[in-house]
């Protein structure tokens, strides 16, 4: 655990490097999700905000599970050797999270469902009188699913009977058919959540200091809290052409080499 910004930036680079190596096994996969969310995952798990073994962690978009594996290996939750099996037939580390996925309390593959499950956990924490927070990781694309807003309304209405709940949205403006903005207008996202009764922090999701400050501002009072992390699907990587489809990246040997070289240089 560290609150040191350079350590967290280094952890983010390691997450990207792990994910790149995992995607390289098949030559394609959900690399963009790890690239965009690397700082968020670094701060949540490396910065000590998610108290592993006590707090519950919900990963709503199961496609991001690669990023979770990548950080889990760095913070000692997962054996680093396991990463090499990612996405292979019969492997425990599947490309989209399932009930077999280790370590997370809930991972969904069908989008828009994670916040509801997280609210179930938060209700259970309150009923049991436990000091046990619920972190729910969502993506911006799944804001198109109505269930997210059913859940947002519920959490705010029932805020006095919920344990502490923190949502983080990786707003990378990417979905299968292209940019979220080209498919559906979900903005103004912060105003929407605010109007649904949530306290909102909107930050540069590649800025570990801003993320740390936002998560630290989460109080224990009855108020659901959402952090909108504005990110880029390619994670500000210079070595990846900006025209590439970030939702599902085809990683040939040349690109893998370029990405790996850039990340190793950052870590040197």
């Amino acid at each position: 655990m560290t609150t040191n910004a350079s350590d967290l930036r280094r952890l983010a680079a390691l997450i990207r490097l792990n994910a790149t190596r995992m995607v390289a096994i098949q030559g394609f996969g959900y690399l963009g999700q790890a690239l965009s969310s690397a700082e968020t995952l670094a701060v949540l798990f490396g910065g000590g905000f998610v108290r592993v073994g006590r707090d519950r962690f919900v990963l709503s978009p199961g496609h991001y599970v690669i990023g979770f594996y990548a950080v889990a290996a760095e913070v000692g939750l997962l054996n680093e050797d396991e990463l090499a099996s990612y996405g292979k037939d019969g492997a425990l580390l599947e490309a989209i999270g399932t009930e077999r996925t280790p370590l997370v309390d809930l991972v969904c593959g069908s989008l828009g469902q994670g916040l509801s499950g997280a609210i179930g956990f938060a209700l259970a924490s309150h009923l049991a009188g436990e000091d046990r927070d619920t972190y729910a990781f969502l993506s911006d694309g799944e804001m198109e699913e109505g269930q997210v807003w059913e859940a947002a309304m519920f959490a705010s209405h029932h805020r006095h009977t919920l344990g502490r709940i923190v949502v983080v949205i990786d707003a990378n403006n990417s979905q299968v058919d292209g940019s979220v903005t080209s498919v559906t207008t979900i903005e103004p996202l912060a105003d929407k959540w605010r109007s649904f009764g949530w306290r909102v922090a909107e930050v540069d999701g590649h800025d570990v200091d801003a993320l740390s400050e936002a998560f630290a501002s989460g109080s224990a009072d009855a108020e659901p809290f959402v952090v909108i992390a504005r990110t880029e699907i390619l994670g500000q990587m210079q070595s990846i052409p900006p025209t590439i489809d970030g939702h599902f990246i085809k990683l040939d040997r040349a690109l893998e080499h370029a990405v790996t070289t850039e990340l190793e240089a950052a870590l040197a």
Binding site: L106, Q113, G117, A124, Q147, A151
Partner: protein
Amino acid sequence: MREPPYKTALKPYGEALLALARRRPEVLCLGADLTRQTETDIFRDALPERFINAGMAEANMIGIAGGLARAGHVVFVNTFGVFCTRRCYDQIAMAVAYPNLNVKIVGFMPGLSSPGGPSHQAIEDVALMRALPNMTVIDPADALEITQAVTAVADHQGPVYLRLKRGEIPLIFDYDHRLELVKAQVIAGGEHYDVCIVGAGMMIPAVLAAARTLEDNGIAATVINAPVIKPLDKPTIVTAARKSRIVITAENHTIIGGLGSAVAEAIAEAGVAAPLRRIGIEDVFAESGSREFLFSRYGLGTQNIIDAAWRGLTINRPVPVAPVLETAPGAYAPV
């Protein structure tokens, strides 16, 4: 077994759920703006801290139920059958059935028991729920079975879909009747049968009445009560079917995917030669109307079962006519 017209009980489910919750602190009750209609007002009033109204948001409610169940609760989710099956199927599949959680989905107003038309008539709920791995599906016939089902599903590890009639619930079985999640029961008939009738839920009174009329006209009829449609008690059904010249299923549900389909699969795979006739809604959406009107119009009456047996057995006598019972207010008789 009692005699028709049957006495009725009010809110056997609501009373049983509250009694269960008083015994078991892990039991929670979720609803979707249909509290009185799902008999859970008595739970809400007695144990308000364990009652959660999710509002008209069934998808979210199912997801929350999954989270609560993961944390160790036994969660009863209550709304109308249409809304807790059709409307949130992916949520049930992913948040409840796949992780095999202790979420008990209770859907009211099965089949054509609702006057509310197709939007409120759960005619394919059994088919949908039966198709999901891990899901147990129960269609109880009377107040005693409902009361017993509440405890049985709470004791069962895993998800359950329980479809329940609203309002006045008939008392059909004697107090020694036992609902078991693995058993169907022969409730009428002998060792040598002309016809074997397999029914469940609201069709049991009609099945019993049809069997009696057939017996009165020289046809040996055996009746199997199969409240647990999944997992179906195949041995009991196959054993009876083997001894029968014809098998008839009766369900307050579309004939596609429900009890009739489950029985068809069981007897076909067992190599039973007897032909099968399925009494149920014949692959149509219905309309608004009273139970009596709808059951008669859509082929769910006692006479429909008698007709199916008569035609199936190719008997060259006039078809006997089902007796019409005088029913006092508050009593229940089959259509």
